[in-house]
Symmetry: C2
Subunit: 619 residues, 2 copies
């Protein structure tokens, strides 16, 4: 019995798919590699996968009717995850639904570190065998490497099997590639200085790859892109749930991230004019879920109490095992994890900022879906993770979006006049995390939002700020504040900040602030004792610190103590690539950092409740 | 176009094969797993693969005419390697052609060694995870093992992937199998004491396997069989040549030996009522060619000047990689080699006899196709290999055979009366190595053979020993001495010792003796300084030392200094299984022993020529 299929054309790029009868549009798009914004993972709750079916749209489902406005339904919007294909269709994917290129931070702190890579490529001149020198081929090579300062090299049986032929083909003058102590390949002597590594920061939202010349230590190229797993859920919990729900789900997510890493290998190699086969090692930092999905370790323990990872230590795996298309004999090093929600990315931040070697009390904050917080000195480091939620990444916010073209990323108030800035100065499409913080800070300062987070009614505001009051309106049963009117936007609908959006910001910033306060209490210090607040990660580095201080996202320290450290996790990955001694330091950090499990602390919830209040600050 | 095939019935067991037109009988038999004696590897020079074609035999080839006697041709004997199948045939394989079960030495010296196996199986009770104890599954297990005294255990990514499910299935109470520091498997706690290893002695001719209980150190079972590679050549040179000549030849030889090792695993497990999956490690000693064929390392460098092995060091390989059917996560350790013709078997002999720890000057001799000789003390050990040839294993001897049922293994002379003994006291079939030595010793003592090795004519002997003179007769153009008349043998043909056989013995014993003398000269010692002569190996242990001394195979020491050490190589393999610290000792031995390359010494040839002379000794 033949399966019934329908023809579906995706606009604007015109890709045509044949889709089995009854499949959802989200699944069909995923299968074709078209990545839609679906933070909730397809459960119909995030409304990220809005699509338009211009002609003869199917009737809206219950979920569509609940989640979309009447106007949206009339404009033929549907949720792709809720729409099953029952006939031929043309589907328009709006820009904000499409997971596009985002503004990604690829630079970070740059510490001077010694060039001591784990990969060495050494040209050796070996004396050919003679009856007076009957050393085996393997011993001959090992002795030759020892003369070049590489002691105790080891030759695996697979290399040994091809060694005699290879050594003779190269006239006993190979450029030996040694990873750690393992001889992995014999290259031509003329290729002796083609020796590269790539450092990956594997984030829930964003992937960055840094190609490094391991002969000079120089950064050769950078590539980045969104994590295509985002189509299966915006946060790690949604992705873990997807793996539990869907047979082969973990394999799908693994393939997606490996595919994206391979694209970045290819892109970096193209930019630097290097062959992928000259890349012998990759280092990886990522949170525990990203780490486990990449390594094909089971993730279900991470999301379920008592929140236990399968294997937190560093791993060294063959590139072939992971499917990473560097040299097939290459290796992948994944840095160790601290806990289920404090991953190798945090280890990278600590290494990059040198917190584990510093006498000064410092606080590092990596704001993301999970905010990781580290506090301490060389004597004692504490870390925790707070479920800040994806608000700052645009999810669960009515007109939220990622930091892509058209996102409102800055909101200033000049009297009663709103001054908006959008990424690439394009017509506004939505509101990204920094714009969200700015907007809330501005509205709190203007008295439109109370310290407890309530958006005042237009009437209450009209007396003092009539122009702002006019922007307050009902929005599907709740109060909203119009940031951009429909005439000012690309999409033709207004962009509002709603009461619920403000609550999301309160939850997010409250979680972060309560986490910081709990660590301070555990450490026995006050906010004023913090000598540096280090803002790490893709998002933290675009925040305006004064606004973050204003809404209480950051602890109350003098503004000049707030420092940006860029993509410190990625810098940590690069450091471990360039200097393998730091991998031992990473082990020490991962073991030595005290993980504070917030859910276990009776003092966390009261702090959280209190931290949701906006501080009485004027801009 | 269909291939033309013929029906061939092999007697006595009646196996029927369909053989492609033109294939040789040797190849057809090999393909069917019928192993014939073919020391030369099928070149038509050893005449080991004599078969009988009772009805309508094909005309003899040139080679058959040259190598077989007129009488043999008339009796319808042919060489299987020279006989191409052109029609249906019935083929009788005489007992001496068939590679049967041989008398194999499985016992050896037994030194007391501490039980310190590389494999440990430890039942651990782990506390289940809790929010107050969020260690990863891997760390939890590693910590639990550390409490049991196994420090720094490592969990490979493949194990880690299944660890969460496995640990929970076993209620956090696994019996962890740790090889070295690698956790390789989690068994049920009730199976905690099912932990075995198997030690292999992989000889050119003979394979022996020893199953050892690694909890108690007790020997649980022994199995042995002939090396099925023998069908492709009786000595290592013939096998290496076969690999060079025949595409896929090395793979064939590898499969044969692995298949035989697997049979021995199964046999030992059956005898000891142990599951093969409870065997976690194998140790292997073997000469360099056997080692390389087993490990699938290229062998061509071994046989060709300057005689260089691919990789002489010890290797640890997964059982799965080698196809060895112990536990699929098990490991195979192959002991290191000293040189291309002084292999890991010699390392095993040294470890087993403790030569590397002894103050007394000792000589160890392992007589085989290649005789390995070790001389020295803890201060200095010298080793060499001599191409003794396969005479003592029955090859190149007119009526030679292996030490199997019906082989004449002892020859005594009572006046002029010959007293023969055969293995299993069966009717005589041929002459094995010990019988050969005895026969030569007796004929030299009786004056039938001169000190220079010439067999006297009957007329010259008739005066003093008329009964012996009657046994001297022409044999296809050379002189021969009838050991057993045709009425006394199973085959109906007489068993003769020919002039050429005596020359083969002279070459073999000359090579051994010259090797010993060269080592003595290198060491700066005389034969009389040797405090012990250790006879090792399958053959050495059946020799009668007085006869070996009589023909000059052994250096002239008092008889009581000659000791049998049994299958010392196999004992060495067992020791390395039971005590892994000895693997470091093996590395030291392999590196520390000075290999003396006889072909490079100008003093070797004159010594060799001199050593061919029989010493003037009477029994």
């Amino acid at each position: 019995m033949a399966e019934k299929v329908h023809r579906v054309v995706f606009q604007p790029d015109g890709r045509t798919l044949f889709v089995p009868d009854g499949q959802t549009l989200l699944d069909a798009a995923r299968a074709a590699g078209i990545h839609m914004n679906a933070p909730c993972g397809g459960k119909g709750t995030c409304t990220g996968c809005r699509i338009i079916i211009p002609l003869s749209p199917p009737p809206p489902t219950e979920t569509c009717l609940r989640e979309l406005s009447g106007e949206e339904i009339r404009r033929n919007l549907r949720l792709a995850c809720q729409t099953r294909v029952r006939g031929d269709l043309r589907v328009v994917i709006p820009e904000e639904t499409r997971l596009g290129d985002q503004k990604i931070l690829t630079d970070g702190v740059a510490r001077e570190i010694a060039l001591e890579p784990n990969v060495r490529k050494v040209a050796v001149h070996l004396p050919p065998p003679a009856v007076s020198d009957q050393r085996s081929d393997a011993d001959r090579l090992i002795d030759g490497l020892a003369e070049k300062g590489i002691d105790g090299a080891h030759i695996d049986i697979r290399i040994a099997r091809e060694l005699p032929e290879r050594l003779r083909a190269l006239d006993f003058h190979p450029a030996a590639v040694v990873i750690g102590r393992e001889v992995v390949y014999l290259d031509r002597p003329t290729a002796a200085d083609a020796c590269y590594g790539i450092a990956f920061d594997v984030g829930t939202t964003t992937l960055v790859g840094y190609l490094v010349d391991l002969v000079t230590g120089r950064l050769a190229a950078v590539a980045s892109r969104g994590n295509p797993q985002a189509a299966y859920g915006d946060d790690v919990i949604a992705r873990i749930e997807y793996c539990g729900r869907q047979a082969g789900g973990a394999r799908t997510l693994n393939s997606l991230v490996v595919g994206a890493l391979n694209e970045m290998v290819a892109e970096c190699c193209r930019k630097a004019a290097v062959k992928a086969s000259a890349v012998y090692e990759a280092t990886v930092v990522g949170n525990s879920t990203m780490n486990h999905l990449l390594l094909r370790l089971p993730v279900d323990g991470i999301a379920r109490a008592p929140f236990v990872a399968a294997a937190a230590s560093a791993h060294t795996v063959s590139a072939r095992d992971l499917g990473l298309r560097i040299h097939p004999r290459g290796r992948v090093y994944t840095a160790p994890l601290i806990a289920s929600f404090v991953g190798a990315d945090t280890v990278g931040v600590i290494l990059a900022t040198g917190m584990h070697e510093s006498d000064r009390l410092r606080l590092a904050i990596d704001i993301g879906t999970n905010g990781e917080i580290v506090l301490g000195t060389r004597e004692r480091l504490l870390a925790c993770s707070t479920a800040a939620g994806p608000a700052f990444e645009g999810a669960r916010i009515r007109y939220g979006m990622r930091a892509a073209t058209g996102a409102i990323d800055r909101v200033d108030m000049d009297g009663e006049r709103l001054v908006l800035h959008t990424i690439d100065e394009a017509p506004a499409v939505g509101l990204c995390g920094t714009g969200l913080i700015d907007a809330v800070a501005a509205l709190v300062a203007a008295g439109v939002v109370t310290p407890s987070g309530m958006m005042r009614a237009a009437a209450d505001v009209a007396k003092r700020t009539p122009a702002l009051a006019r922007r307050i309106q009902g929005a599907d049963g709740e109060t909203g504040f119009v940031l951009a009117a429909k005439g000012e936007t690309l999409t033709g609908h207004p962009i509002l900040l709603t009461q619920r959006d403000v609550r999301e910001v309160q939850l997010a910033k409250g979680a972060m602030a309560a986490g910081v306060e709990t660590l301070l209490a555990e450490f026995g210090a006050a906010a004023s004792d913090i000598q540096e607040v280090l803002l790490a990660g893709a998002f933290g580095n675009y925040i305006r610190p004064d606004r973050a201080l204003a809404i209480g996202l950051l602890p109350r320290v003098p503004l000049e103590r707030v420092k940006f450290v860029g993509n410190a996790a990625g810098v940590g990955a690069r450091m471990m690539l360039v200097n393998c001694g730091l991998r031992r330091a990473a082990d020490d950090v991962a073991r030595g950092v005290e993980h504070v499990e917030l859910s276990q602390r009776p003092d966390f919830q009261p702090r959280f409740a209190e931290a949701m209040i906006f501080p009485p600050v004027t801009l």
